[in-house]
């Protein structure tokens, strides 16, 4: 157990009930300014629409709220505490200047419908970020409207559909590799397409003969993640693009793994027609416990007329504005202009990096993943020997012999002071351990992680029960997820009087 103490040790954490359990009448954390207009008779104004009672809403003081949420916060693991190697999630450092610029009053309090002439600052941010992202991806145009990655996928497929429709036939199917994220097939269904699975070859890449056999005039697009979810670059990308284009189909790229490419290669150069980015992955906007994200969609020139409206334009007088007159647009996917607060953060990140910083970032991300791979190969089974880019996928084959699964190893990693890697994904690897360190980890932190993983592998051989019962040092032990789903308790209720 010695290695454990190098990274993590136990500490006291405070117990804290639900906020409702602290509530009592007469406590308050608010004070409104005096009303400077006459009071109104609400019953007269609202009649039967007047609400009388707010039920069990809490009544607590400010210090209680501060302590409540501060205590809760200490029960979370976070990037700020240490390595968070979730594969395909790109848990990198979230720079604090991003937060500072987003809270500047003109940006934080800007109303989306305020006149364009007093919105030039926000419009310039949108335009500058758009230009940076089209350059980084090697594409021609972009929309920032989608609110998240899956929303970007949806927008991308709407563009595919809109374009093909304009040529006379929207087609019926989307091809999706078996290694893809679940959002890809779910998105295709949302846009009204049938999903056809495409199997991977023995190197973990798209099987070209299968693609050639499955590609026909019914297929609208192939949704490809590149590097794919194994962290492998699709080396025959040019053949893939050619096969799609030859039969009039489009190549969609899921940009979830763009952190492997920024400054080193551009999807627009290798045949991609439309792709989405995840600003909350590649461009450092915080994950915030599960959102908000932002999923811009970049396209080649021929898809530009179909972009959601409005689009940003430079007007005759040199000022910026929105253009709503877009007859071929697929419509609108979200109210207003997208998650603007993520644009400011992503742009601050790009400005802090510049071209050299972005390239170095990508190089370090790939270096880190390969360093882990080299150190753990043999300790954990490596199902695909194909070179890794920014993430590496092992399997639990060696540990499963002792009855220990990837999920158990993940839980044990918590005791060592790390967040687990991504468990059991991609689906093409049985018992997958998907590890993405990102560029934000120092050699020291990586060495601690490697040491932890090796130590766990040893525990699996010598004392598997320790791993099977992990985590041991958290506030709660493994939770009963089956009971949670069988008899869902989805809200607090006051105890029966």
């Amino acid at each position: 157990m010695t290695p454990m103490t190098r990274k993590a040790t136990r500490h006291i954490s405070q117990n804290e009930g639900l906020i409702f359990e602290k509530s009592s009448p007469g406590k308050a954390a608010f004070k409104l300014a005096p009303l400077d207009v006459p009071e109104v008779d609400t019953a007269k104004l609202l009649g039967s629409s007047e609400r009388k009672d707010l039920g069990n809403m809490p009544e607590v003081s400010e210090i209680e709220i501060i302590r409540h949420f501060t205590r809760l916060s200490t029960w979370n693991y976070a990037i700020d505490l240490g390595m968070y190697p979730l594969g395909s999630c790109t848990m990198k450092y979230n720079p604090r200047v991003n937060e500072a610029v987003t809270r500047l009053p003109g940006l934080a309090n800007g109303h989306p419908y305020q006149p364009e002439k007093i919105s030039q600052g926000a419009l310039r941010i949108i335009k500058t970020l758009s230009e940076c992202l089209t350059e980084i991806t090697g594409m021609d145009a972009i929309t920032l409207q989608p609110a998240a990655g899956a929303h970007g996928e949806l927008t991308g497929l709407l563009l595919v559909r809109g374009y093909l429709q304009s040529k006379g036939n929207p087609r019926k199917k989307i091809l999706i590799p078996d290694s893809a994220h679940g959002t890809n097939p779910a998105t295709a269904a949302t846009v009204g397409y049938a999903v056809e699975n495409l199997k991977s070859n023995s190197a973990g890449m798209v099987d070209i003969p299968s693609l050639a056999a499955q590609m026909n005039e019914d297929v609208a697009a192939l949704m490809l993640t590149n590097p794919n979810t194994l962290g492998v670059f699709e080396q025959e990308i040019h053949k893939i693009a050619e096969l799609m284009h030859a039969k009039g189909g489009l190549l969609y790229m899921d940009g979830a793994n763009m952190n492997a490419l920024v400054g080193k290669a551009r999807p627009g150069d290798f045949g991609v027609d439309v792709m989405h980015l995840n600003l909350h992955k590649t461009f450092s906007t915080p994950h915030g416990g599960g959102g908000p994200g932002s999923g811009p969609v970049a396209v080649k020139k021929f898809l530009e007329p179909f972009l959601p409206k409005p689009v940003i334009v430079t007007k005759a007088d040199g000022t910026l504005g929105f253009d709503y007159n877009r007859p071929l647009s697929v419509g609108r996917v979200r109210a207003f202009y997208g998650n603007f607060g993520m644009f400011t953060r992503a742009l601050a990140y790009i400005l802090a990096n510049g071209p050299d910083g972005l390239r170095q970032t990508t190089e370090d991300a790939v270096l880190n993943a390969n360093y882990i791979r080299k150190a753990l190969e043999g300790v954990y089974d490596l199902p695909y020997s194909t070179p890794s880019m920014h993430e590496v996928v092992f399997s639990d084959k060696l540990q499963a012999k002792q009855g220990v699964k990837t999920g158990d190893i993940a839980k044990r990693l918590i005791d060592y002071g790390f967040h687990p890697y991504t468990v059991s994904f991609p689906l093409i690897v049985h018992g997958a351990l998907m590890i993405e360190p990102t560029e934000s980890e120092s050699k020291e932190e990586l060495d601690l992680f490697i040491e932890a993983m090796r130590s766990i592998a040893q525990e699996v051989q010598e004392e598997p029960q320790t791993v099977l019962e992990a985590p041991h040092n958290t506030r709660v032990s493994r939770l009963d997820e089956v009971a949670a789903a069988r008899k869902p308790v989805l809200r607090w209720k006051p105890a029966a009087q």
Partner: protein
């Protein structure tokens, strides 16, 4: 680069350990012809002080000194300071989705509290952990109703936020869901007569908003009766969450789709915001988005987990209830803290102030121009019809550092020279009086454009 924690010696040592000669060896899987040989054409690396300056300039050029009378789907309310203090804690800010509950109890418990408060405020039995925003939540709620009823067409009130309607149109078009629009009557509410006529045996649901886009409170009970009589569900969108402090929630609805931006989320030029869906227990398995449930650990201790994941894309793939993955957890946390700060008493007082400011402004404006839809209750928005083009009036108001109401021409040309005005607790009486004064001047003088038209 200051975010990267490696020295050149570290990089050397790591490359050596891997057995690579140079970093470019690791990029060998990318075919040579696609490897970038030049610097990206993005601005050069900037110091933090330069970044602050750049954005500061943008902030100044973004109307940072105006009083605003804009609502229309996003509202300027006071944000208690502790919201940002708390959400800035790295453990909330820099955590991922709580898939590993043992190290995510903070996020999970706070979402559980959020779900509870939303249920209390909406009168529904379950609420999800959040969606992208009100527009997409409304659309997802409609798709949910279509799945629940097995009927494929949808009736939509023309008085919902026009951009919500546009988002719904985008999704509905590709799922082959026909939409029927029902207009509003003299009182600004959906026309019940036209609503009645809109039904076919295939109508799965009715979507209305309350308070609607004009700020008018709909007669939800009457709408629900009609919808239910036809075997359809009622989906009610709420875009001004603060209204729930004083306006009876649409308890007769089957699904509520909400925008919680008013609960402590900055206007932020349109996002990120906090959509959500609330409904009855019986509908939960068709509800999209994440849900947090209470359970116990191996020692019987209370804890929280993400639950009912079999609805979701990472399990069900193309058969999922939605393709949604990310929600708006950090924004939901802002809303959660806001609801906790104001609580049972404060939300009501806050809503009352909104009501009072709006009533005052409507009566002031009504002396000089026509305030539409007087015969139904409203919350904090009202429509003012003028002789002069509201864009012209707004230009004049900018000179007084005031951003006037939202001109409705673009979306609702049938209302002519109308604008949607909004007052919150942040709207000062002085600004209301100044705006009313400018409006009075505008309306007293014969408008230039109309004079020109007469001359023709």
């Amino acid at each position: 680069m200051r975010y990267l924690p490696k020295s050149p010696a570290d990089r050397e040592a790591m490359l050596k350990a891997i057995g690579a000669r140079s970093i470019n060896d690791l990029f060998a899987p990318i075919p040579d012809q696609y490897r970038l040989r030049h610097d990206l054409k993005v601005p050069r690396q900037m110091a933090e002080s330069e970044i602050m300056d750049w954005f500061d300039q943008c902030s100044h050029e973004n109307g940072d000194e105006y009083s605003i009378f804009l609502g229309a789907g996003t509202y300027y309310h006071y944000r208690p300071v502790i919201i940002d203090s708390l959400i800035s804690r790295g453990e909330f800010l820099t955590a991922y989705t709580p898939y590993q509950p043992e190290v995510s109890q903070g996020t999970l418990q706070s979402i559980f509290e959020f779900q509870t408060m939303i249920c209390e405020l909406t009168g529904m039995e379950v609420a999800n952990a959040s969606m992208y925003d009100g527009s997409t939540a409304s659309t997802e709620a409609v798709l949910m109703a279509v799945r629940l009823t097995g009927r494929r067409s949808v009736t939509v009130a023309r008085s919902i936020h026009p951009e919500y309607r546009e988002v719904l149109e985008t999704y509905a078009l590709n799922q082959g869901i026909p939409l029927t629009t029902v207009s509003f009557g003299e009182n600004g509410r959906i026309s019940l007569k036209d609503l009645e006529k809109s039904f076919t045996p295939d109508t799965g649901c009715v979507l209305v908003q309350s308070p609607n886009f004009f700020g008018t409170i709909e007669d939800v009970a009457a709408i629900a009766d009609i919808a239910h009589k036809h075997g359809a569900l009622l989906v009610v969108a709420i875009s001004e969450a603060v209204s729930l402090g004083i306006v009876e929630p649409p308890r007769q609805a089957d699904i509520i789709a909400m925008e919680a931006q008013s609960f402590g989320v900055p206007l932020g030029f349109g996002g990120p915001y906090c959509g959500l869906i609330a409904t009855r227990e019986q509908n939960v398995r068709q509800m999209p988005g994440r849900l947090v449930g209470q359970t116990v650990d191996r020692k019987g201790k209370r804890g929280f987990v993400l639950t009912l994941a079999t609805r979701e894309q990472h399990i069900r793939r193309e058969k999922a209830t939605s393709n949604i993955c990310t929600n708006q957890a950090l924004v939901a946390l802002m809303a959660n803290i806001f609801m906790t700060v104001y609580g049972k008493v404060g939300l009501k007082e806050l809503a009352k102030q909104n009501l009072a400011k709006t009533a005052y402004a409507a009566s002031k404006f009504g002396k000089h121009a026509k305030v539409l839809f007087p015969n139904a209750p409203r919350f904090n928005e009202f429509v003012v019809q003028t002789k002069e083009d509201p864009y012209v009036i707004n230009n004049r108001l900018l000179g007084h550092k005031i951003v006037g109401g939202f001109p409705l021409k673009k979306f609702l040309p049938e209302l002519g020279n109308a604008a949607l005005w909004c007052c919150t607790e942040m709207t000062g009486r002085t600004a209301i009086d100044t705006a009313a004064g400018v409006l009075a001047e505008s309306e007293a003088t014969e408008p230039v454009r109309e004079a020109a038209e007469v001359a023709q």
